[in-house]
């Protein structure tokens, strides 16, 4: 696999994982909001 292609693939995977982390962060606030509205 070419260097550039490998780098792109790495960045894509990293962004996906970062998205997952941010989802967990936001999830705590969303859960709290749902709890107080419900």
């Amino acid at each position: 696999m070419g260097d550039k292609q490998q780098r792109r693939r790495n960045i894509r995977t990293a962004l996906l994982l970062l998205g997952l982390a941010l989802l967990f962060y936001a999830g705590i606030f969303i859960a709290q909001a749902l709890r107080s509205s419900g």
Binding site: T13, L17, L23, F24, Y25, F29
Partner: protein, 535 residues
């Protein structure tokens, strides 16, 4: 093609740039591994000094040396420094050094992110430790930061929250780097089930970090807004719920325990086969057991808070789910024993620490099972029994595995063998003093001595004195370790072969010792016999 070869050739021969800026700007996984490990040693030293303040104060009943508020700061800061500054960076350092070499990658996938992730840590801990010198003192509400108590923290509060955010970002970037490297950059032929167990345990740990560190960050952000921006997430007067903080915190906190112990399992699963000169017994079951422990770690959190009050069904659920963890953990312990069974065993220092890990971690595991029993926990909760339990898991458990890993891999890192006699002396002193420190704490805990209190009833004096002697002995014994490491770094001692240990297998042992600055720029050929033996 010819150009590419010339390029590779150049890379193989250029070493690190000279001077201090090498360490500031480095993106090399080996340099950053060394930085992480040195940083963690410094934090272990600072956290260790804090534990000595605690143990000195507890040598006798009554108040001797420090003000009770400062004692509370010491227990709080000792935990934060040891967990986030000592153990986690130590394992990240080991991952930095070893994961790329074990999977046949040239470096971690995101080297610049790696640099950033490390350099966040000194700032995070400078902020945290600076609270010791500001008006109102350092945080003293416990590392668990339960509201409303933690909201009484003075000027240290925002520094505490910001430092935890920085530590969290650092951990997440490190975890992302490890996952991307393992998923995308393995050498051709290095299938997932051919990876060394240390790599597997780190892959699973990295997922735990990505899932739980943001939860901690969310919880402490809410504390911050509760204190300064008028929200009432955890304030009952405004419709919030302080118990909710405990649920969120332990949803992070319990997987955190496994973040600290799974890489330790990986280290022990690497060392025992080497010195038993046998392949690891039940490799596949070890992988599945690690994954099972990681899954279960998400559904047991409320066993930390049985006494807060919860429905009976809740207590039963969390009690049984916690006990379930004993099954995959038992699989691991039996596999380590089966690996040693009829092996040609020798007991070099890394093996001594690894075998001690199996015994002593298991003591911590069993006392954990006792604590999992909800009705019994009402007696044990917040006593020294809990302190004894988690210190058995974290010190002769996780810390011993870090020490074992350093002894095991330091020939690869420095090109020189450590002094075996000094290593063995270090082991025996550590093993004796650590048991002197923590075993008596089971007894005082069962008899009712509460944790996080600077004074105690006179009948607990004898056991506390033994504990204090043990703690001082363990602390000073570690200078033998530092001396041994320094010796290797100063290039003294016998030169290490590429395969420093007769029974060692895996890609890291196919490169020279010390490992060249750049390894596997061209992916290595995977030798199936080598990877199978590495299991």
């Amino acid at each position: 093609m010819a150009h590419e070869h010339a390029h590779d050739h150049d890379h193989e021969h250029h070493g690190p740039p000279p001077g201090l800026m090498r360490w500031v700007k480095t993106t090399n996984h080996k340099d950053l591994g060394t930085l992480y490990l040195c940083f963690s040693m410094l934090m272990f030293f600072i956290g260790g000094l804090m534990s000595l303040v605690i143990r000195a104060e507890l040598f006798e009943p009554g108040l001797q040396f420090v003000h009770p508020e400062f004692f509370n700061s010491m227990t709080t800061m000792h935990a934060l420094v040891m967990i986030f500054g000592g153990l986690m960076p130590a394992f990240t350092g080991l991952a930095n050094w070893m994961v790329p070499m074990m999977v046949g990658a040239g470096d971690l996938a995101l080297p610049r992110v790696n640099n950033w992730g490390f350099w966040l840590l000194p700032f995070a801990f400078a902020l945290l430790l600076s609270t010791l010198f500001i008006g109102g003192g350092a945080p003293a509400g416990g590392w668990t930061m339960y509201p409303p108590l933690v909201l009484q923290t003075g000027a240290a509060f925002p520094l505490l929250i910001f430092s935890i955010h920085l530590m969290g970002i650092s951990s997440i970037t490190g975890a992302i780097n490890v996952v991307v490297t393992i998923l995308n950059m393995r050498a051709p032929g290095m299938t997932l089930l051919k990876m060394p167990l240390f790599v597997w345990t780190w892959l699973i740990t990295a997922y735990l970090l990505i899932a739980t560190m943001p939860v901690l960050a969310g919880a402490v952000t809410m504390l911050l807004t509760d204190k300064y921006f008028g929200t009432t997430f955890f304030d009952a007067a405004g419709g919030g719920d302080p118990v909710m903080f405990q649920h969120i915190f332990w949803f992070f906190g319990h997987p955190e325990v496994y973040i600290l112990i799974l890489p330790a399992f990986g280290v022990v699963s690497t060392i025992i086969p080497t010195f038993a000169r046998k392949p690891l017994f039940g490799y596949d079951s070890m992988v599945y057991a690690t994954a099972s422990i990681a899954f279960l770690s998400f559904i047991v959190w409320a066993h930390h808070m049985f006494t807060v009050g919860m429905p009976l069904t809740g207590e039963l659920f969390f009690m049984f789910s916690t006990m379930l963890i004993a099954v995959p953990t038992g699989v691991k312990v039996f596999n380590w024993i089966a690996t040693m069974w009829k092996g040609s065993m020798t007991f070099e220092t890394p093996m001594l620490f690894a075998v001690a890990f199996v015994f002593l971690f298991t003591i911590g595991g069993f006392s954990g099972l006792m604590l999992a029993i909800a009705p019994a926990d009402f007696q044990y909760h917040d006593t020294y029994f809990v302190v004894a339990h988690f210190h058995y898991v974290l010190v002769p458990g996780a810390v011993f595995s870090v020490i074992a890993a350093i002894y095991y891999w330091i020939p690869k890192w420095t090109g020189h063998m450590y002094n075996e006699k000094l290593g063995k002396l270090h082991f025996w002193l550590s093993a004796i003093f650590i048991n002197l420190t923590f075993f008596p704490q089971h007894f005082v805990g069962l008899a009712g001595m509460p944790r996080r209190i600077p004074d105690y009833a006179v009948q607990f004096t004898d056991f506390n004195q033994i504990s204090t002697i043990g703690a001082f002995g363990f602390f000073f014994a570690q200078f033998l370790f530092i001396g041994n490491i320094m010796r290797c770094m100063a290039r003294k001692g016998e030169k290490a072969k590429a395969r420093a240990w007769e029974g060692a297998h895996g890609l890291e042992w196919t490169v020279a010792s010390p490992a060249p600055y750049h390894t596997f720029e061209v992916p290595p050929q995977i030798d199936d016999a080598e990877t199978q033996a590495a299991h």
